[in-house]
């Protein structure tokens, strides 16, 4: 019984820490939406390094992956993991290409609902078009360092596995600085973007895998 009480207390403390109360509701959401829409229009390409930390809450364990990410309008995306091993995912229009060691797999985006959903979320989070999505309820928060969008899934099929997506922007709203994906099991993944390069020239070969 004491163990149970301690566990509940621990969960409450963890939750209150995780909730990050420092974010207050944004006063002028119209202005923030305009800023996000503006970067969405102005961003033709984006390149950055990323660190992805998966936290398995019940196991108190973290799994860290690192890599490089490229995005090019319209609908070209490359996630290149370099650690813990090399693994590349390229989304080229309606094709998904995966390179794992020497194996190359090709999928048709429309034939795989899961890929399509992941792709839509990822790309719309990066280019800011998520604001137009009807699949999420969006909450807007801010603190002295930047803004946070809280996306709550509304559609069946997504609600069962995804609890929230948090998108973080710097104060100047130049691009997404961090993504946080919280699953219904309370496991969560944080992707930090660093060394960002906006509207640089990305060679077309980056979105082709052979």
């Amino acid at each position: 019984m004491l163990k149970q009480k301690l566990y509940i207390l621990f969960c409450c403390i963890s939750f209150s820490l995780f909730a990050q109360p420092s974010f207050k509701p944004v006063k002028d959401t119209v202005l923030l939406k305009e800023k996000i829409n503006a970067i969405s229009k102005e961003t033709n390409s984006l390149e950055s390094d990323f660190t992805q930390v998966k936290t398995l809450s019940m196991l108190s364990e973290k799994i860290t992956s690192k890599g490089h990410f490229c995005f090019q309008k319209t609908n070209l995306l490359r996630w290149e993991y370099s650690s813990p091993y090399i693994y590349i995912i390229v989304i080229n229009k309606d094709k998904v290409l995966i390179k794992d060691e020497t194996k190359l797999k090709k999928y048709d985006m429309n034939s795989n609902k899961v890929f399509k959903e992941i792709n839509d979320i990822m790309i719309s989070c990066i280019d800011g078009n998520i604001l137009a999505s009807t699949k999420f309820k969006i909450g807007y928060g801010e603190n002295d360092k930047g803004y946070r969008l809280e996306l709550t899934p509304l559609v069946k099929g997504m609600k069962e596995s995804l609890k929230k997506i948090y998108m973080y922007f710097d104060k100047a709203v130049t691009s997404v600085t961090k993504l946080e994906i919280v699953e219904t099991t309370d496991d969560f993944t944080v992707i930090d973007f660093t060394n960002k390069k906006v509207n640089g020239n990305i060679p077309a070969e980056k979105f082709i895998l052979k």
Binding site: Q52, E61, T64, D100, E160, T185, T189
Partner: protein, 219 residues
């Protein structure tokens, strides 16, 4: 001519059937008793979290990601499979005598798949052998041991490495044929570096695990 061919086919089938079910002649039965962790080295550590690159080939589908094993208390551990993008695919709770799927990602959450994963993970972790009553066979020439145990109408056969209590290979036999083969390779730290499990017959399933040493997990 046709009758001769048919006879040959019958004879060869019978031979395969007989040899397929038998323990190799070079192994002599030594005793029958409960197999413990002194006889066979467990494949997971109670104190260290282990991370593997996992590849699953199921018919024409291919899944990859990271498999984490972590002990959560003295009798429980978990096997969690997470894709490269960070999506959790399954979480299996491992107790001393059982494995239970506590989470499985929507499209995979079907009894046939979850049962298969529980069985295969149990088989990899030697659940059908350790703490079970089995037969012990010894091969003096190669100085290795062979263990057999039965569970759910299947016979599990485990071969150790020479002069070691580490498992090198295991076979699962159904009523007639071998249905599954697993091969283990160990690293310098005495923990498995790679594990390869392959189903034979109609079920085209292969699981490969390769340990990730550099990408250590941390709290």
């Amino acid at each position: 001519m046709a009758t001769f061919r048919l006879k040959n086919l019958y004879l060869s089938s019978l031979l395969i059937l007989l040899t397929g079910c038998a323990i190799p002649v070079k192994y002599k039965l030594a005793e029958q008793r409960k197999i413990t962790t002194t006889d066979v080295q467990p494949l997971v550590s109670d104190s260290v979290s282990m991370l593997y690159k996992m590849q699953i080939f199921l018919f024409n589908k291919y899944y990859t990601g990271l498999l984490l094993h972590k002990q959560t208390d003295s009798v429980t551990s978990h096997l969690v499979f997470v894709t490269e993008l960070g999506m959790k695919m399954f979480d299996i709770e491992v107790k001393k005598d059982s494995l239970k799927m506590v989470y499985c990602f929507g499209p995979m959450n079907k009894p046939k798949i979850t049962n298969l994963l529980e069985n295969d993970m149990g088989s990899i972790l030697l659940h059908q052998l350790i703490n079970k009553t089995g037969k012990i066979y010894v091969n003096k020439k190669q100085e290795n041991t062979l263990y057999t145990a039965k569970e759910g109408g299947k016979k599990y056969i485990y071969y150790t490495q020479a002069n070691s209590n580490r498992i090198a290979k295991s076979l699962v036999k159904g009523k007639l044929f071998t249905t599954q083969k697993t091969v283990y390779k160990f690293g310098a730290d005495n923990l498995p570096e790679s594990v390869s499990l392959k189903h034979k017959g109609l079920l085209r399933l292969k699981i490969k695990l390769n340990r990730i040493i550099t990408g250590k997990t941390n709290d």
